[in-house]
Amino acid sequence: MRINIRFAGAGGQGVILASVLLAKGYGLGENYNISQTQSYGPEARGGACKAEVVISDETIDYMKVDTADVFVAMNQIGFNKYIDTVKKDAVILVNSTLVDEDTNGCYAIPATQIAEDMGKPFTVNMVMLGALTKLLPKIHFDTVEDEIRKVFAANVADSNIEAYRRGYDSIAEALADERKMA
């Protein structure tokens, strides 16, 4: 089993951190093999940013993602850049505050809006991570929460976990509605 996950967005949105926390959740919490890589430009903020996570129950030979099973787009530029490299029927999650073109069939969450409503715009990546944790198999809310708590200083951990929880709950509701409709 191998799942290729790609994150795309802008530098400063926390794209890489979200991918690292997901990788740690799967790697340490759920005992899978993981490989996390990233690419970014020389800019500190604003440039294009991509992060990739491979999850497998076998040894991972190739550490990068060529075609994605799961695609997470945090802004429109990132979405447009990589939407053609996802597999057919891939799970696609978009930050619908910033990604609103050609998103039919995608899971959408207004992550930037949710983070701003909390008064913590920097936690947009945690909202996305929460939503992703709900969508993905073989990973639990608590395992990722543990990793979030480890990486942040105590004074900011709570707001990040709150953002993570809101993302998780928001997608959980959407999935429940979807099931009702079906």
Partner: protein, 400 residues
């Protein structure tokens, strides 16, 4: 490619962080460096860890100073390391020659970026493969290790300290951006590994550290066992050069390390080092028809995803295609004997590298009777398994 042991602690680390942890585990207690992408995380971690482990960290004015400082620290009795990338590594060349001639055991990590010059700070390359061997002037042998996983960033850094002390020579850990910035789960041991600094018969220069009550003279000119200059004496200078070169070349069997995969019956061999060995192994498995397994699950969404998560199967069955991989762990000294033995039955050898095709020349030199094909890639991206598989098919004369 991963070596695990249950008694060890599991961590998710970046390659650069694993390198720093490996250095501390190997007893490194002095680090001097100047931050440069993509090696900065090593310096960052060392700045904190050196304090905790009772060592010393200095952010130097530049990379020349960094390399010189670790040479001095080692003579002061501390195991020492620096880490850099492209331009910084170029600045260190003079000091590397000085460490080679004074027979100073130091470890230098070069997390390669694309060059020349400032080049591509955030992208990967293997362009320094010859600079690592021949970068400083004069005739010297050097040991260069090429890790291809986060676990190997830890293990090879420890090995680098062992080899440096054993042969009293600078040892280079030649990583690249992919392996330096990648995060993987690794197993690390706590505490410290004791690497003894014993006196060696095959070393010419003085070997006693400073402050040990002995007169130790460290001399960059060719010298005798007391550090006195012999550069003006042709015969003795010739012997000196022979001695410092042969202590490494004569011990290639001890130093050299390769891993082989599917090589028993391989007609086509991929020879790769560093991060490129990873897509190479994946390509070999694809060619051999080895597919990823599946995990069943209860939930619909999980099932869907895991069904989609199975790697695309190939339309053609290539299982008759006998392809293998030789992964080179020690690029220098060139592991000629091991490589010749591993690939002796192959007719075709393909050498993928993230440069214009350099190491391929060494391989071509020792396999005159085989078709040795270079597969260069420049620009900063690592080869994909598909690209390598296509090359295998092309060279094996198979059209899809």
């Amino acid at each position: 490619m991963e070596r695990r042991s249950l008694r060890k602690k599991e961590l998710v680390l970046q390659g650069n962080e694993a390198c720093a942890k490996g250095a501390i585990y190997a007893g490194c207690r002095f680090f001097a460096g100047y931050p440069i992408t993509p090696s900065t995380e090593i310096i960052e971690m060392m700045s904190a860890e050196m304090q905790k482990s009772g060592g010393a960290f200095i952010q130097m004015e530049d990379e020349i100073g960094s390399a010189c400082a670790i040479i001095g620290a080692r003579w002061g009795g501390k195991k020492a390391m620096t880490a850099t990338s492209g331009p910084g590594y170029t600045l260190m060349q003079e000091a590397i020659g000085f460490a080679a001639v004074t027979e100073t055991p130091i470890v230098i990590v070069n997390v390669q970026r694309g060059g020349p010059s400032t080049g591509q700070p955030t992208l990967s390359s293997q362009q320094d493969i010859y600079q690592a061997r021949y970068g400083s002037h004069g005739d010297y042998e050097i040991i260069v290790l090429t890790p291809s996983s986060v676990q190997e960033m830890f293990d090879f850094t420890v090995r680098a300290f062992e080899l440096a002390e054993q042969f009293r020579t600078p040892v280079i850990v030649l990583a690249d951006e992919v392996v330096g910035h990648m995060r993987e789960k690794i197993a690390v041991e706590g505490g410290s590994k004791i690497i003894e600094s014993v006196k060696h018969q095959y070393v010419v220069s003085p070997q006693a550290d400073f402050f040990q009550g002995k007169n130790t003279m460290v001399e960059g000119q060719l010298h005798d066992e007391q550090g006195r200059r012999i550069g003006h004496l042709a015969k003795r200078s010739g012997e000196f050069i022979n001695d410092i070169n042969r202590k490494i070349s004569d011990n290639t069997d001890i130093i050299a390390s390769i891993d082989t995969y599917f090589m028993e019956d391989a007609d086509v061999a991929i020879v790769a080092y560093g991060s490129v060995a990873r897509p190479s192994l994946n390509a070999v498995k694809l060619a051999r028809g080895v597919k990823d397994g599946r995990i069943a699950s209860k939930l619909r969404i999980v099932k869907d995803l895991f069904r989609k998560g199975v790697q695309e199967t190939l339309h053609t069955d290539y299982s008759h295609l006998k392809v293998g991989l030789v992964k080179i762990n020690t690029v220098w000294p060139f592991p000629e004997k091991l490589l010749k033995e591993a690939a002796k039955n192959a007719d075709i050898i393909i050498v993928p590298e993230m440069n214009v095709g350099k190491y391929f020349r060494e391989i071509e030199r020792v396999f005159k009777d085989k078709a040795v094909i270079s597969m260069p890639k420049c620009g900063g991206d690592i080869h994909t398994p598909k690209e390598i598989l296509d090359k295998i098919l092309e060279e094996a004369g198979i059209n899809e």
